[in-house]
Symmetry: C2
Subunit: 368 residues, 2 copies
């Protein structure tokens, strides 16, 4: 076994999920996740935790859903009981074919999902963590060889998370105390200001103790308001099956008033015109994971990449808002990413340069 698989399991069980003796842990094993599942079982044994492994197979789902007439029982009790009594859920994502469910009718998939909302809720009420085990299908989706994809995934996952969490805490403090963010890029004319007053940033350090449920993670995010100016998202990203390229948004009084894209402009229009909230930003996120060194069109990795900033049109997260205050509401939450790693870019808070040309001021390479 690749020794990185064992390190991955150690990080997942120890850092991310904080499993302790006696914990009841459900491990969701995707079709391609066997090796990681074995390594995770070893870690759980070492912790003295209790283990129930479920088989999470898109091919089984497809066969089941296609054969089913479509009226699903609501939250079957046996499965609900399993998650209600579980302390943690570790989802080991490892698809063998990312199109395995391509021929399941969408309405049936939705009806099934809807019939199981309480089970999902019970699962989300545990200390859950979702992670990725590299497969050839995921490598293919990223346009990479399998070997190179393995290196890519483990570079992103096997970080010094304690050090990164501390670094992110620094940025969180700056954002929590700050009032206005200014984002600028000479290369494409990006020049955007946002208010972050009274907002609380989240330190997404890939651990349940930070309320961060994905491994890898590595971003700090907050909920901006009163956006003004222009921004170009030069990182290509597939949304609703279409790859968007060079999306440019113009904001006035917090709302998008103009937009264009060199590819996928109709999808951008559809997103923006969804509802009232989809014209405003719900999230400003700063990628801080330096283990992610390239864009692979997988949002879980791309938005965490050190030297990128992402903004989401639509719904804001409660965690960023003061108690009792509602944030931007919308049916959508679509992340768009801009690459800051080029000359003449700045990320400023209340006039202080926090990041220049993609490098934070506390990083070795930075010269104020």
């Amino acid at each position: 076994m690749d020794p990185r698989v064992r390190e991955h399991a150690e990080t997942l069980v120890g850092w991310s999920a904080r499993i302790e003796a006696g914990d009841d842990v459900v491990v969701l094993v995707d079709e391609g996740a066997h090796d990681l599942a074995v390594a995770v079982a070893e870690q759980l044994g070492e912790c003295g935790a209790n283990l129930h492994a479920t088989y999470s197979s898109p091919e089984m789902n497809r066969a089941y859903l296609r054969a089913h007439e479509g009226e699903f029982d609501e939250n079957p009790q046996f499965e609900h009981a399993l998650y209600e009594h579980a302390d943690s859920v570790l989802a080991l994502r490892a698809k063998r074919n990312t199109s395995a469910e391509a021929d399941v009718p969408g309405d049936k998939q939705q009806a099934y999902t809807k019939s199981r909302l309480e089970i999902r809720e019970a699962r989300m009420d545990t200390d859950w963590v979702s992670t990725i085990h590299p497969t050839r299908a995921l490598a293919q989706q990223a346009g990479m060889s399998y070997e190179a994809y393995c290196d890519f995934v483990y570079d992103a996952i096997l970080r010094d998370w304690e050090a990164l969490a501390e670094e992110m805490a620094t940025l969180k403090t700056i954002l929590d105390e700050g009032r206005e963010v200014h984002l600028s890029k000479e290369s494409d004319g990006t020049d955007l200001t946002m208010s972050i007053e009274d907002r609380t940033a989240v330190n997404s350090a890939a651990s349940v103790v930070y309320d961060s449920h994905n491994l890898p993670s590595g971003e700090v995010f907050t909920a901006p308001t009163a956006t003004e100016g222009e921004v170009t998202f030069d990182v290509p990203m597939t949304v609703r099956g279409t790859q968007l390229r060079d999306v440019r948004l113009v904001f006035e009084d917090g709302e998008v008033v103009d937009w264009e894209a060199t590819q996928g402009e109709d999808v951008v229009s559809a997103i923006i015109e969804t509802d009232e909230g989809s014209r405003r930003l719900g999230e400003l996120g700063i990628g801080m994971n330096r283990g992610i060194d390239r864009i692979t069109d997988q949002i879980l990795f791309d938005e965490k990449m050190g030297g990128t900033v992402h903004l989401a049109l639509g719904r804001a997260y409660d965690a960023n808002l003061p108690d009792g205050v509602g944030g931007n509401d919308s049916a959508v939450h679509v992340d768009l990413i801009t690459d800051m790693r080029m000359e003449g870019t700045r990320f400023e808070v209340d006039g202080d340069v926090i990041q220049r040309d993609g490098i934070f001021r506390w990083e070795d390479e930075f010269e104020q």
Copy 2:
């Protein structure tokens, strides 16, 4: 997919487990059982049953148990709740390496099993069925090529179970009404009589409605007493890691008084000398599955083979006993098989020849 996999799933869900709409079904997916699991998911979808798939991996078990210090929590509630609320459990057995747990310390394995007795009980309280999906590891264990092993397994599983259940009912009636069984083989001097008075035979027709929980099955069994005479078991069988050959037992007053074997005699001695009950028979079984055409040293198949009879030293099953009457009790239950398919063999009940030279009297080939 091999069309026989789908037929297997139909037999399992329809004939064996009798799944109905709304049933909560746990499917135990062994490492090598993916294809059968997909076919079973399709059948469950068609029935409108609810599906929870668990991943049953010897490699995960091994890693977990070896890493665990050995004091296990008793019947963890999350897993107990799953089985308590389940209607059926379908175990799809498909090992990828029959030695996968060879280096797990026996005492740890036992402590783990013991810590989960109530979970096991909850599982056995459902309409459970255990079946086999062919793998290369199982083919290897049977000393067969993979292709030939697939044919062997599906020939045993894809029977006309309704017809076979009727045929077995005929034999059950004969045994229920009978008082004495006489087994004789001219070839090796086997000449054994047993009382079956007041015993109830079980028609093991691979369906929960017959209280028969293995697919394939195909035997009728009862609990004999007052055994007298001699019998040779010419079907080789591996018990406790040793292949026993030509075990010969001599009975007086229901007890083994003399024994020998051309191979594994020390194991035979150890079995017989376990306790009081291990000197007496707990089971007389008659194999009736004509789809099984060869001995593979896998008891699940061998003892069901049409034209064989097996006797078990040790514990009797309650299902064979009158209400409130205890049967032979022992810590062991070891099946030994004799092949009846040769000239000069007879299986008689109260003097009537039921089987001659391995052929039942109601089979086409039989001439009384």
